[in-house]
């Protein structure tokens, strides 16, 4: 078609099964269906994009009508877009040990109920458990005759326990989500753990704010890597000038022992067999031994920014792809957990994550732990609650002085541009000096 430099179609159909149990009551359980497509056309000056609900695959005249509509839209754009060359190809989707579709919803409900019931505790006033199973069948085709088709199933559960005493209300929250198949069996310990944490937090102290040494557990350190570094390395933000990492390639911004990686190809919750532009997924070492090494890219930002590889385009069904993280982690070092606590000596140990946020242009991040412990003479002592960390990316990374030898990954979801995609974050235990800790406690 005249003027069309490139087009692609990403059509996703599938179903979502959910179960919601609240204090022993099955509030809702069932299956819903979706069918969404996005067609992108690159005209001389930019992208024209059609988002279509209930798309019926078509060829010839009908498909050309879609291309013409997208072309008309693209004519109002003004940017000369060049797509970088990138290898195509698709990884195999990992085998599921047990396909959730082979388990009846009645059995799923019964297993979820066991987890929810395990959160019973004399101080727990509310228990809530959710199961979600999302099956996506993705079909991709582009004007260069690349075609991919795959099916992914992500499933898992959350359990929340709320403890209350004399007007003090606290919560414990556990979750397990996986691409490896059905994971509701033998998980009652997660319900019990949520209840125990909620009850323990009723007696926890309130953290005092200020600068101190902090040990971050693998889950929170993973969120740190995601918020403090991952977003600022996204090629679209770098291109727009909305990242403090712009122009910092080759500069040392962290300690020698710090290497941060994003890899969509590893079999964690953020796995993609191929990216949302049909590009082969590849590992990117964002920070290598403390030095800014590479950015995350799609084909467009690879071409305009350079320094990195494409393969990091991701999208929700029916949405245009954005440059996104997938599985982001701090590489393991060689310190033992004991060495990290001893080196910290006096400070705070932060565990679990209630999420975080970053302003990548300003280089400011904030995230919140689920709970923590004071560290006194290298030992964990008093439990503390409602404790957060904030800081400036370019100053804070120098403060990571020790990385443990025990990296683990945690599943989650990341929001950007109105789209939420599955990710995993991970790290070993890390020691962060001069951490700015927020809490409402005062001396």
């Amino acid at each position: 078609m005249p003027g069309v430099h490139y087009y692609d179609l990403r059509h996703v159909t599938g179903q979502v099964t959910h179960i919601d149990i609240d204090n022993g009551v099955v509030e809702s359980a069932g299956t819903s269906f979706f069918n969404k497509a996005v067609i992108r056309v690159l005209h001389k000056t930019g992208w024209g994009v059609l988002q279509i609900d209930n798309y019926t695959p078509c060829h010839g005249k009908k498909f050309n009508t879609f291309l013409e509509s997208a072309c008309r839209l693209a004519r109002i754009t003004q940017e000369n877009v060049i797509l970088g060359e990138a290898p195509h190809g698709m990884l195999a989707v990992p085998f599921m040990k047990e396909d959730p579709r082979n388990v009846s919803i009645e059995e799923k409900s019964s297993l979820l109920s066991e987890i929810e019931m395990a959160a019973q505790h004399p101080l727990v006033v509310n228990r809530r458990a959710n199961f979600i199973e999302k099956i996506e069948h993705v079909q991709f085709t582009d004007s260069s005759e690349n075609e991919y088709s795959y099916e992914m199933c992500r499933s898992g559960f959350n359990v929340l326990a709320v403890a209350s005493l004399h007007g003090n209300v606290q919560m414990g929250y556990e979750r397990e989500h996986s691409i490896h198949g059905f994971n509701l069996r033998h998980q009652q310990s997660q319900g019990k753990k949520a209840a125990d944490i909620a009850a323990a937090l009723l007696d926890a102290g309130i953290a005092k704010s200020g600068k101190m040494r902090a040990v971050l557990d693998p889950e929170l350190a993973g969120v740190f890597a995601h918020e403090a570094v991952g977003h600022a390395s996204e090629g679209d933000l770098v291109k727009e000038g909305n990242s403090v990492l712009k122009g910092k390639t080759g500069q040392k911004i962290g300690n020698e022992n710090l290497t941060i990686i994003d890899d969509p190809g590893i079999h964690e919750f953020g796995f993609d067999p191929v990216d949302a532009e049909g590009v082969a997924v590849r590992r990117t070492e964002i920070i290598k031994k403390g030095v800014v090494n590479a950015f995350l890219h799609n084909r467009e930002t690879l071409s305009s920014v350079g320094n990195g590889v494409a393969g990091h385009a991701r999208a929700m069904p029916g949405e245009p792809p954005l440059v996104r993280m997938s599985n982001t982690f701090i590489e393991a070092g060689d310190a033992t957990e004991r060495e990290i606590f001893e080196e910290c000596r006096n400070g705070i140990f932060l565990k679990g994550s209630r999420g975080g946020q970053v302003d990548p242009g300003r280089g400011i991040f904030q995230f919140n732990a689920e709970y923590g412990y004071l560290i006194e003479k290298g030992e964990c002592t008093t439990m503390v609650r409602d404790v957060s960390l904030s800081g400036e990316i370019l100053m804070t990374l120098h403060g990571i002085t020790l990385c443990g030898n025990n990296r683990t990954m945690s599943p989650g979801y990341c929001g950007k541009g109105g789209q939420s995609v599955p990710v995993s974050d991970g790290a070993p235990h890390i020691l962060l000096c001069d951490a700015v800790v927020g809490g409402s406690g005062v001396d």
Binding site: N23, V25, E27, S28, A29, G30, T31, S32, F33, F34, N35, G46, W47, V49, L50, Q51, I52, D53, L73, A74, I76, T77, Q78, E79, N126, V162, S164, N168, V169, Q170, M171, S209, G210, K239, E240, G241, N242, V244, P320, G355, G356, Q357, V358, G361, R362, I364, F365, Q366, F367, N368, R385, D386, V387, S388, S390, V436, G438, G439, S440, V442
Partner: protein, 434 residues
């Protein structure tokens, strides 16, 4: 074609459902939108969308089922999935879906003058850039979008409601050195947004926040902009007013009905019938006719929000607070236009720390109300004028407790999503310097 002819399949669906279940509700939305995205000062991407979605809720012997799809030709499969889903649900007391009521057919949030066309969004973009040029900060990204949707609700009690909504939404991001600025505007009426001002304020905040100074840790009188206040209110305080959370033990306000929960000058209410307000509707997501709900009157907590399901279960009456985030899932408790009101006064005459936005409010503890957030575009302010910017600091405290220390509300209010909020002055809040 008249709308009810176009959706004749809904009547068929209801008749089919009535063979098997006591009650059925059909929620159908069909819409279109157009948007343009700026990358720096150039439009890089233009998008249109054609959306449709069907949500079905069935109730049989107190068991509630649901399913959804965006392929309406498969309504029968969707209905069967909803009925199957209901068989798994725990039965509860159920007093029936609402009967039909004669309501005005005039939409409160539909602007017939809005044209969903690419050239209109380009005009909005150009006006934002015109405003942005007032200050020498660099534009990094921005969006303008227009949307229109028809929402249809029908049930087995004879309800056949249909309503139209429009929307115009703008945002712009800017940077100067390492200082960022962000501004947005949105409305259901085209003339209610000011694209020039959006652009001007985004570059203003980026410029004005540059060369910030540190602030010492301590207690300060603060002035939260509607945006910053809305982040804390929406993430913590408003969920605690949900009847569902109250009865489930997930609300700190559960035992506080009739008690003082905020400063005595503060009132909070949901007014779904405001003309030209973003969340205005004459019926809620279950077809209950909407009305004003006064949650807090001069500091006293009066009532909580209920949908039908929660009301029937706990012997209450629906406050017509059912909303749907989309066509999928079940209706849930929310609000339409949540208003914070009270005596208005000059809030920036005396020296305060003005906080335009916060980073990380969603990480607050929604049960206890404890929070620590990073400040964004914070300044010293006196006599209504911006003074020295604050480079980086945290605000830490408790959302519930800080409402007891509110000392003033600004004269102007602003729509933040479905909230209508003033700037709020709060005394003695803890700021952690760096």
């Amino acid at each position: 074609m008249r709308w009810w002819v176009a959706v004749a399949w809904i009547d068929k669906l209801i008749r089919e459902a009535q063979k098997t279940v006591d009650d059925v509700e059909v929620f159908y939305v069909k819409g279109t939108s157009v948007s343009a995205d700026l990358k720096q000062k150039k439009v890089a991407l233009a998008t249109t969308s054609e959306d449709c979605g069907l949500g079905i809720r069935t109730i049989h012997e107190g068991r509630i089922g649901s399913s959804s799809t965006n392929n309406v030709s498969q309504w029968l499969e969707c209905l069967n999935a909803a009925i199957a889903s209901g068989k798994l649900a725990t039965p509860q007391d159920w007093g029936g879906l609402p009967d039909i009521v004669q309501l005005s057919r005039t939409s409160l949030s539909f602007d017939a003058s809005i044209r969903i066309e690419p050239l209109v969004v380009i005009d909005l973009i150009e006006k934002m850039l015109e405003g942005a040029a007032e200050h020498p900060a660099e534009v990094t990204a921005g969006t303008a979008s227009l949307s229109s949707a028809t929402v249809t609700l029908a049930n087995s009690k004879g309800v056949r409601y249909s309503d139209r909504h429009t929307g115009v939404s703008l945002s712009l991001e800017a940077i100067h050195e390492q200082s960022t600025g962000y501004e947005f505007d949105h409305s259901c009426f085209f003339d209610n947004v000011d694209p020039v001002s959006v652009g001007e304020m985004a570059t203003f905040f980026a410029m004005e926040s540059d060369n910030g100074k540190d602030v010492a840790t301590g207690e300060y009188d603060i002035l939260l902009s509607p945006l910053a206040y809305g982040e804390l209110l929406g993430n913590v305080f408003i969920p605690a007013l949900s009847g569902r959370n109250v009865h489930a033990g997930r609300s700190r306000l559960a035992q506080s009905q009739g008690e003082t929960v905020t400063d005595s000058q503060i009132s909070m209410y949901d007014d779904p019938l405001l003309i030209k307000a973003n969340g205005s509707v004459r019926w809620d997501a279950e077809g209950t006719p909407t009305r004003r709900v006064d949650f807090i009157n001069e500091g006293i907590l009066e009532t909580f929000a209920y949908d039908l399901k929660t009301a029937y279960r706990f012997g209450k009456t629906s406050t017509a607070s059912a909303i749907r985030g989309g066509f999928g899932g079940l209706p849930s408790i929310g609000h339409h236009n949540f208003v914070v009101d009270g005596k208005r006064n000059e809030v920036s005459d005396e020296r305060v720390v003005y906080i335009h936005n916060v980073v990380g409010a969603h990480t607050a503890n929604p049960m206890s109300g404890e929070f620590s957030v990073e400040l964004s575009n914070a300044f010293w302010m006196e006599g209504g004028e911006f003074d020295v910017p604050i480079r980086s600091a945290m605000l830490s405290g408790n959302v519930f407790d800080m409402h007891q220390n509110i000392s003033g509300l600004s004269k102007e209010s602003r729509a933040i999503g479905s909230m209508i909020l003033p700037s709020v002055k709060i005394n003695k809040q803890r700021i952690i310097g760096k």
